[in-house]
């Protein structure tokens, strides 16, 4: 009976091709294999975001009048609502952390080389999208902290030369953060960003599938064993996912995400206001730059700097390899360490100061 059903489905869906693919896919085994798991962890956490985000949509109301109260209703009245919301917030943060680890692992194992330039570029765009999710989702509970963080964030975007004011107006849906902003951020957070992300995740994963896993250049090909992807690597990956889920569940249950106070546009900004940790390094850098450097406005200079670094980073597969297509390991590793240290130190400084 089971065989009959399988055969019927196979005839129509071509399952055997997928099975064939799974049977032949392998993963290289070497000293850096463990870093392969972080892409999977990021994907898993994204799946959690999709599920918990969809659940939150059943109760959330995206208006200034009801947004905050609907989140409070979720957290206080709906069964397991506190857990779902807390997991959504924690998972968002772990997801961005995992994405950063994944990115740096690709840098330090020099996996951006030919033929994986597009995989790298799509990954960098995905990281940007994740930051966009974080920024837009932060405002949705419409609490005091998120309200002011969004005011500042939109203002920063607004100081981009030439197009800045237009971007800020489009982001806010007006000249100030208010009811139109909430609607816009909601549309971005639950429709626009998810659609773009879904397409890019598909591309990213298909490219990984097509080009296989990269082996670091310092490991001689003769020394690399292959592990079957299914079931050997897959089961290990699932075990790692369970581990990530355990961490997530523990964080969500022991440190439930706070809701804070309802946003009041006519109250002063609360003391110690600062953005989410993944924007802290940039936030602190902007604080350090004097208001004017020569004839240029300090903030403008900082933003231009971030822009240049981001573009250069996205172009890593171009400047990170020599004519023969081999990785410039010293240069790239140096740049990677420099960026990682900068991010860590400035994030900590942003917290402390």
């Amino acid at each position: 009976m089971t065989a009959k059903i399988t055969h019927w489905l196979d005839d129509r869906l071509g399952l055997s091709a997928i099975r064939e693919l799974a049977a032949h896919k392998t993963v290289p085994v070497h000293s850096a294999t463990r870093w392969y798991y972080f892409g999977g962890i990021t994907l898993f956490l994204f799946g959690i975001q999709v599920v918990t985000g969809t659940l939150l949509l059943f109760y959330y109301r995206p208006t200034v009048a009801e947004g905050f109260d609907s989140v409070r209703f979720i957290m206080t009245r709906v069964e397991f609502g506190w857990l779902i919301r807390s997991i959504h917030s924690w998972s968002a943060n772990l997801l961005i952390f995992a994405a950063f680890v994944h990115m740096f692992s690709v840098v330090f194992t020099h996996a951006y080389r030919r033929p994986r330039e597009l995989t790298w570029a799509s990954g960098i765009i995905l990281l940007g999208l994740m930051l966009g999710f974080g920024f837009s989702g932060y405002l949705l509970p419409w609490n005091q902290i998120s309200y002011f963080a969004t005011k500042v964030g939109a203002d920063v975007a607004g100081s981009t030369p030439v197009i800045g004011p237009a971007i800020a107006r489009i982001l806010r849906g007006g000249n100030d953060v208010g009811a139109p902003t909430l609607t816009r951020f909601f549309a971005l957070h639950v429709m626009v960003l998810p659609m773009i992300t879904a397409a890019l995740v598909a591309l990213h994963v298909i490219l990984v599938q097509k080009n296989g896993m990269s082996t670091p250049p310092w490991i001689p090909p003769s020394r690399v064993r292959q592990m079957k992807f299914f079931p050997n690597f897959f089961l290990r990956e699932v075990m790692v996912w369970y581990g990530a889920l355990a961490v997530l569940g523990a964080l969500a249950a022991i440190f439930p995400w706070e809701l804070g106070e309802k946003a009041d546009p006519f109250a002063s900004a609360p003391k110690g206001i600062r953005p989410e940790w993944y924007f802290l390094a940039q936030f602190y850098t902007l604080k350090l730059i004097p208001s004017h450097v020569g004839f240029i406005e300090g903030e403008l200079l900082g933003l231009a700097g971030f822009g240049v670094v981001a573009v250069a980073w996205a172009l890593l597969p171009v400047w990170g390899v020599n004519r023969a297509g081999e990785a410039r390991t010293r240069l790239v590793t140096g740049a990677g360490i420099f960026l990682a240290v900068y991010l860590v130190v400035f994030t900590i400084l942003g917290y402390v100061k």
Binding site: L55, R77, V78, E79, F80, G81, I84
Partner: protein, 158 residues
């Protein structure tokens, strides 16, 4: 049993290996199933909407007397549900639950036939709330109407 010991008694060994594999498969499958259940349970409970207690309403305002002409009706709020207030004549007032007993539509007063009519499936009720024609299975609940000064008050019958 080590592989060396195995060579002499292959059959039993293979059987042992198969038994172990079967058991591991069951443990793996059972574990996966159990975790699925533990994920789905909170989700199902989450989707079940919490009871929102609504204050029980026994009385609602039907507006001013002079706002409603004789032989006309209007919908008034009765708690969270609509009620139909009808001024049959200068002095005679009637009020009913405006929720059609068929499929929950909101009924209206028809001055041409002097009946209560539901537009959804052509159900009609008379001015006592009884079904005249169409699919409604039950009569409409009738409310009491009192005039206080120039205000019309609709209330549940005791």
């Amino acid at each position: 049993m080590t592989p060396d010991e195995c060579s002499g008694q292959c059959k039993q060994c293979t059987n042992n290996g198969e038994n172990r594999r079967t058991m591991l498969s069951w443990l793996l499958g059972g574990g996966a199933l159990a975790s699925m259940v533990s994920f789905l349970y909170p989700v199902i409970r989450f989707l079940n909407p919490p009871l929102v207690t609504e204050a029980a309403v026994n009385e609602a305002s039907g507006g001013k007397v002079q706002d409603l002409k004789p032989n006309s009706g209007k919908i008034v709020r009765f708690g969270s549900k609509p009620a139909l207030l009808v001024r049959v004549s200068d002095t005679e007032w009637k009020a009913f639950s405006a929720v059609c007993t068929h499929l929950n539509c909101t009924v209206q007063y028809r001055d041409s036939t002097q009946q209560i009519w539901c537009a959804c499936h052509n159900g009609t009720y008379d001015m006592n709330g009884r079904v005249v024609s169409g699919p409604p299975p039950n009569p409409l609940e009738e409310y009491a109407v009192n005039i206080r000064g120039d205000e019309v008050v609709v209330s549940k019958r005791a």
